[in-house]
C-alpha cells in the first residue's frame, strides 16, 4: 500500500528552482532512500513531504488524500540538525512534543519510558538536554520524532554524530519500525547505510531526479567494470591487456578497471600464467560509486 506519494512535484523560490518534477512513492513497511549532494533539493522535498510548504505544481498524497490536519499526527520528523530545547528537561520536552501532536500525556509518558529504556537512557529523564552527550541527544531527538507513533517518518541524517555501537542500536530501531509497517523516508550521506536499509532510492542532483528505482536493479543496470585479483606472486603486464583501463595494486592484490566484462577472462588468463590465484571476483559498483558518478559531476 502506498502511504506517501509525490507526483511530479516542483518548487521554485523566486527565480531559483529548488525541486523539478520529483516523483516517488513510499509503501507501508518500506524505507525509501532520498539521496543528493548538499543543495540538491532534499530539504525542500522533505519539507513538502512533511506538508510544511506546498508545491508549485504536482501533488502529494498522504494515505491517498491531499493535505489535511491529520498529517500532524501521522508525520514524524527528525531534522538534520538537533532540534531540542537545550535548557529543558528531557522528559518535559518529549511529553510536550507528544502532546502537541495530540497524544494524551499518560500515553506519551508510557511510550517515552519504553523508548528511553530501549536506548538505555532512562537515567537522563530528568536531565537537561545541554548536559547530555551528542550521541544521547541524538537518541532523544529520535524519540521526539517517534513518540507519537507516526505512520510516516522522515529521517534526515538520523545517524550523524553517533558512535558505531549507537548507530547499530538506532539502525535496529529503524528496521523494527519498518517491520511494524511504518513508511520511512530516509536521507543520508552514508551510502553504506542506505545500501543496508533501503529497497528503493531516488538520487537528486541540482533539483532534478537523476536516478530512481529499486536499489538492486539500479546496481545491476550499472556495468560491472571492476575485478579484484589476489595472487601468490606479483603479476606483470596486466595493464598491457587490451580493454584494461587501469590497475591499482601492491603486487599481491589488484583492483582492475575494465572497459568490458569480457576482458575479465583475459585478465584471469594472464594471471594464471604467472601465479596461483587466491581470489578473483568481478564486483558490482557500490552505491557510493554510483552516487559520485550521478551526482558528483559538475559538483562545486
Amino acid at each position: 500500500m502506498t502511504v506517501l506519494r509525490l507526483e511530479q512535484v516542483s518548487k521554485q523560490y523566486g527565480d531559483k528552482i529548488a525541486v523539478r518534477e520529483v516523483g516517488f512513492e513510499v509503501k507501508a513497511g518500506e524505507i525509501f532512500g532520498l539521496l543528493g549532494a548538499n543543495g540538491a533539493g532534499k530539504t525542500t522535498t522533505m519539507r513538502m513531504a512533511l506538508g510544511l510548504i506546498y508545491p508549485d505544481s504536482g501533488r502529494i498524497l498522504w494515505k491517498g488524500g491531499t493535505h489535511r490536519d491529520k498529517l500532524r499526527q501521522w508525520m514524524g520528523y527528525l531534522p538534520e540538525e538537533r532540534g531540542l530545547y537545550p535548557k529543558v528537561k528531557v522528559s518535559e520536552q518529549l511529553l510536550y512534543f507528544a502532546e502537541l501532536r495530540g497524544v494524551s500525556r499518560r500515553q506519551a509518558a508510557r511510550d517515552m519510558n519504553d523508548w528511553l529504556e530501549r536506548f538505555g537512557a532512562l537515567e537522563y529523564r530528568n536531565r537537561r538536554v545541554e548536559e547530555l552527550s551528542k550521541g544521547n541527544q541524538q537518541k532523544i531527538q529520535f524519540i521526539a520524532a517517534v513518540i507519537h507513533r507516526p505512520d510516516i517518518l522522515i529521517l534526515d541524517e538520523a545517524f550523524s554524530g553517533l558512535d558505531p555501537v549507537n548507530v547499530e542500536l538506532l539502525k535496529g530501531e529503524v528496521k523494527r519500525l519498518r517491520d511494524e509497517g511504518k513508511s520511512i523516508l530516509f536521507s543520508s550521506h552514508r551510502m553504506d547505510q542506505v545500501e543496508e536499509l533501503c529497497e528503493n532510492i531516488c538520487i537528486l542532483h541540482r533539483s532534478n531526479t537523476v536516478l530512481k528505482g529499486n536499489l538492486r536493479e539500479i546496481k545491476e543496470s550499472f556495468p560491472r567494470e571492476q575485478a579484484i585479483l589476489e595472487t601468490e606472486r606479483a603479476i606483470s603486464g596486466l595493464d598491457r591487456i587490451p580493454g584494461v583501463k587501469s590497475v591499482e595494486g601492491d603486487g599481491r592484490s589488484y583492483r582492475i578497471r575494465l572497459e568490458r566484462l569480457s576482458t575479465a577472462q583475459d585478465v584471469l588468463r594472464t594471471a594464471l600464467e604467472q601465479s596461483e590465484i587466491r581470489r578473483f571476483e568481478i564486483i558490482e559498483p557500490t552505491l557510493n560509486e554510483i552516487f559520485i558518478r550521478m551526482a558528483g559531476e559538475g559538483h562545486e
Binding site: 512533511l50 531540542l84 530545547y85 518535559e92
Partner: protein
Amino acid sequence: MNEIRTVIKFTFLSRLRARSFAVMTIIFALILSVMINLPAILSHFSSHAPIPVGVVDRPAGIAAKLDEYFAQEGGDSSVRIVILKDLGTPEANERQVRRSMSEGTIKGVMEFGEPDASGFPAVVYKAEDTSDSALKAKLQGALQSIKMQQTVRELGLDPGQLARLNAPVAWSTVQLNASGDRGKSESEMAAASVLVYALLFLLYVGVIGFGNMVATEITSEKNTRVMEVLISSVPPLRQMFGKIIGICLVGLVQILIIVAVALANLQLPHNRGALANLDLGQLKISLILYFLVFYVGGYLIYATLFAAVGSLVSRTEDVGQATMPITFLIVAAFMIAMFGLQHPNAPFVVVMSFIPLFSPLIMFLRIGMSEPPFWEVALSIVFLFVSIGGIGWIAAKIYRTGVLMYGKRPTLKELRKAMKAYKV
C-alpha cells in the same frame, strides 16, 4: 485549540521555572523595596538635632529676637541660636567665633554689618558648609519676619493690622471634567500622579521586557532548530499566539508579585505616614481595570511585532539589533507619556492617545490624570484591539514564512518573494 493550550502551558511553566525569572523578580523586588523605604532609611541616618548657629549680639537685640523666633518652633525646629556676646572690637569677636567653631558649639555664624537704606543691617552668614540651602532659607525667613515686625512697629501699625498684612491668600484647586461636574480633587490628583507614574513605568517595563522575551524565545527556537519540529506539529499561527499568551501570563504573574511586594512594604509601620497623604482609597477600581486592559492591549500589539521580527532572525545575537526599531517606538511612547503627566490635555497628547502603538501608555495616562469622556476611551480601546488583529494577521504571515528561512536576515523584497513561494 488543544495545541494552543499546550503551547501556552509549556511556555508559561518553562519560563516560570527558569532561573532568570526568579533572579529578575528578586532584583525587581529588592530595588522596589529600597526605593519605597528610602525616605525612612535616609531619615534614620540624618540626625534630628537642631543645627547651632551663632549670632554676634551687635547691634544688640536682633540675636535675642532670632532666638525667640526659633524657640517658638519648639522641638521641631532645625535651628538653635547661640548668642555670642559682643566683645567690643571686631577682632575680639572674630577670635570668639573661631574658638566656638573649632569647639563645635556652633556650625555657622551670622554677623551684622551697617544698616542699609531700609534701616536693617546687612547680614553675612559664615560656615564651613554653606551648601545647606534649607538652613539658609530658614535663617533668611526668620530675619525677614523680624525685619517686618520692626518696620511695622516703626510705622505704628497695631497687631491686628499686622495679622491682616501677613495673612496668605486662600488657594485651592478643583479640577472640572468636560460636562462641568467636579472632577478629581487635589488629593486625588496627587494620588493619581504618583500611581499613574508607577503604573506607566510598570506598563513600559513590562511591554519592553516581555515583548523582547517573545522575540528572543522565537529566535532561539529557530537557532536550536526546535522550530523545525514545532512547525511540523502545530500550525504556526497557534504556535505564535500560544507563545505570546504564555509569556503574557508570565508577565502578569511577575507584575502581581511586584505589586504585592510594594503593598507589603507600604504596610510597614515607618511607611504608614507616607501612605496617609497618598490615600489609596481615592484610587478607583476602574483605574486598575484600565491598567489591565491597556497592559494586555499594549503587550499584545508589541508582542506580535516582536514575534514577527524574531521569526526573521536566525541567531540569538542578532535579536537585539533587529528589534531596535520596535524598542524605539515604546521608548517614544514613554517619553510622550512623561510629558503628558504634566500636560494631560495638551492637543498632542490627546491625538497620541488614539494612535494604537502609543495609546496603551497615553490613553491610560489621560484616564489617570484628567477626565477624558468615555467615548474617547472606548474609541481608543477599539482602535487598539482592531490594530492588534491587523498587526497579528500580518505578523502571523511573516512568522509563517520567517521560521523556515535561515541565514542572513531577509530584506523586505526577499521576504515578499518567500511569502509568495510559501503561499502564505
